[in-house]
Symmetry: C2
């Protein structure tokens, strides 16, 4: 681990909930666990709490290290820590693994208490609204009536947005980063390709791969490869790999073994992911993305949805992000303006595509730091 | 069939070549077949011949119908026919299936005469330069010393470009549509995902699926789905599908069966393709795309490559094409200008993405018609 500006060693905690959770799909979870981490201290007035919502393949471990020997910190360590934009000297930060996840919260890899067997593919299709309800239950448990801010990027931004509509009294600020009010057909298509890759892997076994002691690794790796390419910009890939060849040259290669650097990189990324992530969870998370539509309960009008909110908003996008393009963030901003809600919008020049929301891009960090400084001035 | 402006019923022909063809990879094809179609009449001076080069999944059947009962004409029937931009009242049009293809020309689905067995995955990795050599052999066979024009879109555009460098004396005009001087890392990455999808299908059998009487249909379908999504623009998909759901609504769906129109469309496209195309050919074609680099033999300098050419050029791109973006076509145009070659460039506003090059977009057809009219004035 590296000590510099780090929250240091952190330990995940588990909250068990016995009260049934009614889900948007019509089913009910009678009990569930949420695994979460906290960074910083909750103040006496409980006014400094920030909720971090994770994206497709994220989890609760957003900052710090789980042990002295860990070399990689949590997934948003660039933003969360003492003196960092989400300053743990100021804020009490809560980060959880969502329901349906595969990092400790109840999901397809958990045992269904009613059957004594793995949930597997039978875990209910949770949606963004369900996550927000479960996060509200966690807030209750932690004694947090009102979040100073709910923050998320990508699918996490959808959760932040949903919070503002679903619990308008329970958050003061809402930070929506690299997100959209709903997925485009193109995004749904890429998600469907990922699901098809997993489901057509013979080791998927209709989702019961764990009982068969196997894993749809090839399908999951393919799904990750598709995701990975689409989260990067064309420029970012060009800068990172160009047309570099692993060895030799195209022109002097007699057999078919020419291999570009980008190919071996992708295969490595896919293979790593396929051993670390659960296939049923991946399917569930992409479905939650597909189904999200902030305006669905408002006759398709996002202005009506946002008119019910009470938070102040920051919307952030990245210039080369083509899966959640600046245009989609401007749609959010424009709907908020039309709904007469206070909103700031920052479009960050960045070569990194959708992945930029996880990167330490100076202007991005500056925007977050300034905005969170303003929240502290307002609330603390 | 529809008679309107059609070349009518056409019959493919096969040309057999006995002279060995030395390939860029170092191997030699001792004999091969090319299947081709022709439309219009070769004039006495043999000055009105046009070569059409096909793209990744294309073939020789570019225009007209194979029978009265055929409902869909050849793949570029919008452009080729009497009175159409490539006017068969004026030009003699030649369209072939490339070496390595799966529509009649020698390729992985052919018998290797030296072994008496299917070529399968052992068919040599042909490259764009090899195709051009084989097309030159076909030109010799047809008595065509000089093409009035060589025309192609996408991978076909690479062949047209290569013709101008490899046989500068054998073409007067070169039309390069929605193409690039080499593939970007992102494009190589999408091709690699397609190959991985095919190769990780257990029915691929290391390429020997035909001997095993099976087919990697799932992998090939996935590969096609990836291609299909990336050939369309985000806008085109939004216009075509939006977030339409096949039946019912997301909000009132109790189980996990919500399905967007775009999903069933993609699955249908993938499944259709997987029964009509050969997996080894798909891998070979994507490799040919990846390996193409017009500047490779010129120290990486495309200006030096184009300085050796003698043709006049038309370069065309489409505004929403993100796999072969207008930027890539401007690079071709700028290199031609720097090489002091005569070039016209048209950037067509079109919502259809890369697929636009196959579509009847009025300004696109107008540009082609005007340019081919100019060629006729010049040569005929």
């Amino acid at each position: 681990m590296s000590e510099h500006n780090s929250v240091g060693i952190v330990s995940p905690q588990t909250a068990h909930f016995d009260a049934p959770l009614a889900l948007a799909c019509g089913k009910t979870l009678n009990e569930f666990d949420l695994v979460y981490e906290t960074y910083g201290e909750l103040n006496a007035e409980k006014t400094n709490a920030i909720l971090i919502c994770h994206a497709l393949s994220g989890h609760h471990h957003a900052a710090g290290y789980h042990s002295e020997s860990e070399t990689k910190p949590g997934w948003w360590d660039t933003c969360i820590g003492p003196g960092k934009p989400i300053d743990t000297n100021v804020y009490f930060v809560v980060s959880l693994n969502n329901l349906g996840g595969c990092h400790g919260s109840t999901g397809p890899t958990s045992i269904n208490p009613e059957t004594g067997k793995l949930w597997g593919p039978d875990f209910p299709q949770v949606r963004v609204a369900d996550w927000v309800n479960s996060q509200a239950a966690l807030a209750d448990r932690l004694g947090i009536d009102i979040w100073a801010a709910v923050i998320g990027g990508s699918l996490g931004g959808m959760q932040a947005m949903q919070w503002s509509v679903q619990y308008p009294e329970r958050l003061k600020y809402c930070l929506i980063i690299a997100s959209a009010m709903d997925l485009s057909a193109q995004n749904i298509a890429f998600n469907e390709i990922a699901r098809q890759a997993i489901q057509s892997d013979p080791n998927f076994c209709a989702g019961h791969y764990r009982e068969q002691d196997t894993n749809p690794s090839q399908g999951l790796a393919l799904a990750r490869m598709v995701g990975h390419v689409t989260y990067l910009s064309d420029d970012a890939m060009a800068n990172k790999f160009g047309r570099d060849i692993r060895s030799g040259s195209i022109e002097h290669n007699i057999d078919q073994e020419v291999e570009f650097q980008v190919e071996s990189y992708l295969r490595y990324q896919g293979s790593q992911f396929s051993t670390a992530f659960d296939a049923n969870t991946y399917i569930l998370m992409t479905r939650a993305l597909d189904y999200f539509d902030i305006a669905a309960d408002f006759n398709g009008d996002p202005v009506k949805a946002f008119a019910t909110t009470k938070a102040q908003f920051l919307v952030v996008s990245f210039s080369t992000d083509w899966r959640f393009s600046p245009r989609r963030s401007r749609e959010i901003t424009n709907a908020l303006i039309a709904a007469n809600r206070p909103v700031s919008y920052a479009e960050i020049e960045a070569a990194e595509g959708h992945d930029a929301f996880l990167m330490p891009i100076p202007r991005y960090l500056d925007v977050l730091k300034a905005y969170l400084g303003r929240i502290a001035e307002d609330l603390l």
